[in-house]
Symmetry: C2
Subunit: 519 residues, 2 copies
């Protein structure tokens, strides 16, 4: 190249050379040199979001499906702040993301212009790695470090802050990203301790999480279960679970504390494989935080940062189970489609009947979806994605990232109406990118989960102020108009037959579409 | 009361006793005891937002109009994070806000549940005051401290973190909020230095900001200008400017650096009254950060935390100008309504013709609005509100807060389409509260400001990647359907006559309504 590249171009080229070739963007003035570099350098797919929570959530979904980071482009501290809630969710899901956050030129910061803020301070609570690159000759190397941080097993949030003069000043070229070391193998002692727990004669369960929820690893768990009689469980919310007919089936620990305690009592001692001792989502007066059964013990076979497949393989060998046919394999089952009114219990079999093979199901169905899991267990093989961080508004953006990552698969996003409103701008990006996403909005017109929680804290007959704060009514949201306003075709379903037809039509369309599931 | 109150109730009662009687809310499970207390205790108006940026922006608008803080209710770290961008804007506007942020029960935090995060870390970059209240007997006193912090002149962001067990445990009663001390008076030396600068024979200008932009204080500036021949200027973005026919007129420093430098050259030396030496919004290669004319000096008469009205009064007396009829008083002027196509230059006179007396104009018109200010100077008296922090998505939420604060006034929110999408959920709250807000969406289908900035950084013929990242097209947003989906009546205007008619009808409706201004 005869023309010297600037810092922004050296960063874009470093990202692409390091395997980061998707950028979810919401740029501003301070990022214009980066945008110009994206324009100039081929090889980066740029996907615009109209709100930063869409951008960061999409990067989360992308990582969950491909296991490699996308980049985001965010405008200064407030732009990063808008993306922070979904970075929280991504962090809890161990998704790797490279955030590029624009900053004023280094000499401009001291002048405290309107958009000046403590960007590192904003980044830190939701990032594993934060760095402001001081000048245009350092940014390529810092970009490589950011990729390495994001790729560090099991995946990390790396936030690289790019001052405008670092972007526009002259650079020396690109930097190389070092490959990741192989995943750590667990110790023989950990394998022996797990084997001892599973063969002690006491009830025991494999509690699985992270990448241990892939088909091949679950099959090892199934062999161990067949040999020892142990259970197989996961936490309530999973990064990505491969499931469906012919695969080893895993139950999730319920959200409601009393139900969870019942399940954990049955589970007994725990062998932890990419999971921690289970914890309640929230604390409640006179209920425990830790959901372990009384007297139950746990032993850690492998953490999410370890080679969990190898660990389970070693355990299966130790137990003589490596050739045992797996237990708990889900039989193919397509429930009959019910008729009549739409209720959580009638939606579940409709989903079980219609989830297509190889679908990616993004579950943010909150209260509506509590029965979905069981009824869909026998559907053809599919992936199931949950919110690991609990900040609602994750589902629509994650669906975007999953669809970008896997253009040949159908995405079914099941979203509560309250949740959908946090990042509703995602619909526009689905339309622009013509993504194969069918969105179900469960329109119960309330923060239904909170009604239950209000009862839990002792309010039996809430007054109008409380009811109003938990209701999405006055006025009702019209999801069909909402979707169409952003270019997404939409239908409304008022009974089970309409719902089944709408889901079938949506999935068949091959493009983005939304179904208002009126309840 | 025979029943002992809990921490949440003691906090609600402390807030109300301290004059904080509006709560913009988006609650979650960890805030249910606070919601229950709001339900039980009369005296707090609760306004639900479906996204936290709406909540915090509304609190900003409320303070700008009333000069007293509202409270917000936010759900843990991610809920606060979603509200952070508009807290940034509020902080830069010196708006006082009391944020109540729920947190897990203190003993639950160590278990690192899904929603656990470093809430204080999230709060700090956008707060002046942050405290986690350790237990239910401290929360009332901490609530009073939060109110005092929020009310500290000229207004501060106070973030009070409320662990669930602090909310549900037993309290001792309410706490009293101490009154604020009177605003500091400026020194005689400061007055004399300002007088000397204005009478030195060199060009000089009063650069005004904050609460100095109220009618009565501006009149003092007008008397001084009449006596000394000085100019009167404000920064580009103001918290709230009282203006219109019969009031002393103030020009704003333009956004574009070269234009700003021209204005500042004319301005000469600066007497600072609630303003700082002006700074460019962004840095650009080979352009200055500080917009002072070469060789110009400044002297600080009063900061925004001082009694600026008294300072200008003292200065007027010092100059013998206290009885001089003010200069630069705007003459009543209603421009003729143009015909034909809608362009920025034709919208401006329509606004000048139609802005009603006593209106609150919230300006987030970005590129479209660069000519609005001049053409509306002679409209009947009204308030003009700008984005002090520069994070777009402030306008619709601030309009909510202004309308709640001033139910007898009409609010005209002028919003660029790109900006509107960040906090579009605000429309629903406008509908629910039946607020008298007319929203104009300038639908130019792009982040138009960034097209100019891309040219500024040297990209003359942007390729498809760059164009796509700055365009809101593919698909176009349908603002009429968007508004109706959230219960807000809407119209589309395709020419000047339609636009004038739509604005008139919207203002006459007395309720929320939206006009898609198609450009």
């Amino acid at each position: 190249m005869s023309e010297q590249m600037n810092g922004a171009e050296s960063l874009v080229r470093t990202l692409i050379a390091g395997g980061v070739n998707v950028c979810f963007t919401n740029p501003g003035t301070s990022e214009m040199h980066f945008v110009a570099a994206l324009d100039k350098v081929p090889g980066m797919r740029c996907v615009l979001g109209l709100f930063e929570g869409v951008v960061t959530g999409a990067a989360d979904g992308y990582y969950r499906m491909l296991g490699k980071p996308a980049s985001t482009l965010l405008h200064l501290g407030p732009g990063l702040a808008n993306g922070l809630a979904n970075l929280h969710n991504a962090k809890k899901a161990s998704s790797g993301i490279v955030n590029i956050v624009g900053e004023h030129a280094t000499y401009h910061i001291a002048h405290d212009a309107p958009l000046t803020s403590d960007i590192e301070g904003v980044a830190r609570p939701m990032s594993h790695w934060v760095k402001t690159s001081p000048n245009s000759t350092t940014i390529a190397a810092d970009g490589a470090l950011a990729i390495e941080a994001a790729c560090t097993a099991p995946g990390q949030i790396a936030t690289l802050i790019l001052p405008a003069d670092t972007a526009w000043g002259p650079a020396n070229g690109i930097a190389e990203t070092r490959p990741q070391p192989p995943l750590p193998k667990v110790s023989e002692d950990a394998v022996k301790a797990a084997a001892a727990m599973l063969t002690s004669g006491q009830k025991a369960t494999l509690l699985m999480g992270g990448a241990a929820l892939r088909h091949a690893t679950l099959e090892l768990a199934g062999r161990i279960a067949a040999k020892t009689g142990c259970g197989i469980l996961t936490e309530g919310a999973n990064t990505r679970l491969e499931r469906g007919a012919g695969r080893v089936q895993v139950e999730r620990i319920p959200y409601v504390v009393d139900k969870a305690l019942g399940v954990m009592k049955e589970a007994g001692n725990l062998v932890l494989v990419g999971a921690r001792e289970p914890v309640a989502f929230f604390a409640y007066p006179n209920k425990p935080s830790l959901l372990m059964a009384e007297g139950a013990k746990s032993t850690k076979l492998a953490g999410i940062e370890d080679d969990m497949h190898a660990a389970l393989e070693a355990l299966a060998i130790e137990l003589g189970a490596i050739a045992t046919p797996p237990a708990r394999v889900a039989a193919p089952r397509r429930p009959a489609i019910p008729t009549g009114a739409i209720r959580p219990e009638t939606i579940a079999p409709i989903l079980g009947a219609l989830i297509p093979e190889n679908a990616i199901v993004v579950d943010e169905s909150v209260t509506t979806g509590r029965e979905f899991f069981g009824e869909t267990a026998g559907a053809p093989p599919h992936d199931w994605i949950n919110n690991r961080g609990g900040s609602i508004g994750y589902g629509l953006p994650v669906a975007i990232g999953a669809a970008i990552a896997c253009p040949d698969r159908k995405v079914l996003a099941m979203i509560g109406d309250g949740s959908a409103m946090y990042t509703i701008q995602a619909l526009w990006t689905m339309a622009r990118e013509n993504l194969d996403v069918t969105v179900l909005i469960f329109a119960n017109g309330s923060y239904n989960i909170l009604r239950g929680e209000l009862t839990n804290v002792g309010v039996r007959n809430p007054g109008p102020r409380a009811v109003d704060m938990l209701s999405l009514g006055r006025p009702d949201l019209d999801w069909v108009q909402m979707a169409r306003s952003m270019g997404v075709p939409a239908r409304r379903a008022d009974d089970c037959a309409q719902l089944a037809k709408a889901i079938e039509a949506g999935l068949a369309s091959g493009g983005p579409n939304l179904v208002q599931v009126s309840m």
